[in-house]
């Protein structure tokens, strides 16, 4: 009995010591994944994902509680990049995926109040007081923070129109 207790204790102690030393040797600082993912996010903290800011979303994605595709402004390309980095597979985008949305201004009802300009985190809206505003499509992150600001509902989110240079063949219908 004593031999059994003693031997197991010694065994445990020796192995524990070895692992302790190994832990010193192979120590890994923090979780680099969260920082890496956060660096990929748009950083506009728009909150469309339901997390408090991009940092929160990055932490949730790294922890596996949020999908890599949870960021609407980042769109498919961001989702794919993150999924690749994490080594997980992404649910294929459905046919109803309209692609990224960007803000658009109905010029006939814009009153030039500049509220949207102040709300825009990327300075994607041009225009001055009492002038009709305009959205720079390339700079719009699609965060939709301007939509609620507009007093006349002139702001709408719309899919980016496909141009000739960007068009490509759809995937052939499944066979077999």
């Amino acid at each position: 009995m004593l031999a059994a207790i003693l031997s197991l204790t010694i065994l445990g102690a020796v192995l524990g010591a070895v692992l302790g030393v190994a832990n010193r040797f192979f120590h890994v600082e923090g979780n680099p994944l969260v920082e890496e993912i956060e660096a990929l996010m748009p950083g506009s903290n728009c909150g469309q994902c339901g997390f408090p800011g991009c940092a929160g979303a990055a932490a949730a994605i790294a922890a596996g509680t949020a999908s890599p595709a949870c960021c609407p402004p980042g769109g498919r390309s961001l989702a794919v990049t993150i999924a690749q980095r994490m080594g997980v597979s992404l649910a294929p985008g459905g046919a109803d995926d309209p692609g990224p949305l960007v803000a658009d201004i109905d010029e006939s009802i814009c009153i030039g109040c500049t509220r949207c300009i102040r709300a825009c985190p990327t300075d994607a809206i041009l225009g001055g007081p009492k002038q009709i505003h305009n959205v720079l499509r390339d700079a719009c992150s699609g965060c939709a923070q301007c939509i609620d600001q507009c007093p006349t509902e002139a702001m709408v989110m719309q899919p980016v129109p496909i141009t000739l240079q960007q068009w490509f063949w759809p995937k052939p219908a499944l066979q077999g």
Binding site: A3, A4, S7, L8, L11, G12, L15, V18, L19, A22, N23, F25, F26, H27, V28, P32, L33, M86, G87, L174, G176
Partner: protein, 193 residues
């Protein structure tokens, strides 16, 4: 020399740990979705099995047998295996974070890979010497890695096939591994037991 070679061949192919003895099926099904991950898992398991085979031999012959502690065998073997797995896990996390992530939960679960404990216990049962024990462990692990690799290759192709909904995923994988097992039966009788 010939004897050792035959032992290696026999454990790796003819008495394959996965397809003939049906040990270690959990990681075989779990980590066979990509060839790269399968290779990583195979190498990690090879390391653990070989180490565990050596350590368990020492434990058996220097501790358990002299003090007649045979009843502690499983307990102490698991202890050694768990320590080896912990060590491997730390090492992989440090050296290859990508592999660490792709292996996920299956890395710590090498501890519960019955092939590892099975090999250690079979060594005792067969009464192998030290060198043979290590070789038996290594051969088994080699067999495990080979099957994992082949199976991962097959599953990568399976992922591209239009498998009927009722069979997609695990069912098709199980049928595939059973057919693979059928193919391995061709090795039977190669070396008289």
């Amino acid at each position: 020399m010939n004897e050792y070679l035959l032992l290696l061949l026999s454990t790796a192919l003819i008495n394959n740990v996965v397809l003939v003895k049906f040990l270690g099926l959990c990681p075989t099904m779990g980590v066979s979705k990509s060839v790269d991950a399968a290779l990583g898992m195979g190498l990690a398991t090879t390391f653990v099995i070989t180490l565990a085979a050596a350590a368990s031999w020492m434990l058996e012959h220097w501790l358990l047998a002299p003090f007649e502690l045979g009843f502690l065998r499983i307990l102490s073997f698991i202890l050694v295996i768990a320590a080896a797995v912990q060590f491997t896990e730390m090492a992989i996390r440090k050296t290859s974070p990508a592999l660490y992530e792709s292996l996920g939960i299956y890395l710590p679960l090498i501890t519960t890979n019955c092939a590892v404990l099975g090999v250690a216990l079979l060594n005792v049962q067969q009464g192998y010497g030290f060198l043979k024990s290590v070789l038996f462990g290594f051969g088994s692990a080699l067999g495990f890695t080979i099957v994992l690799l082949i199976f991962a290759g097959l599953r990568e192709r399976l992922a591209l096939a239009s498998v009927p909904a009722a069979f997609s995923g695990a069912p098709a994988a199980f049928i595939t591994i059973s057919l693979l097992s059928l193919a391995f039966m061709g090795f039977s009788g190669l070396i008289p037991a």
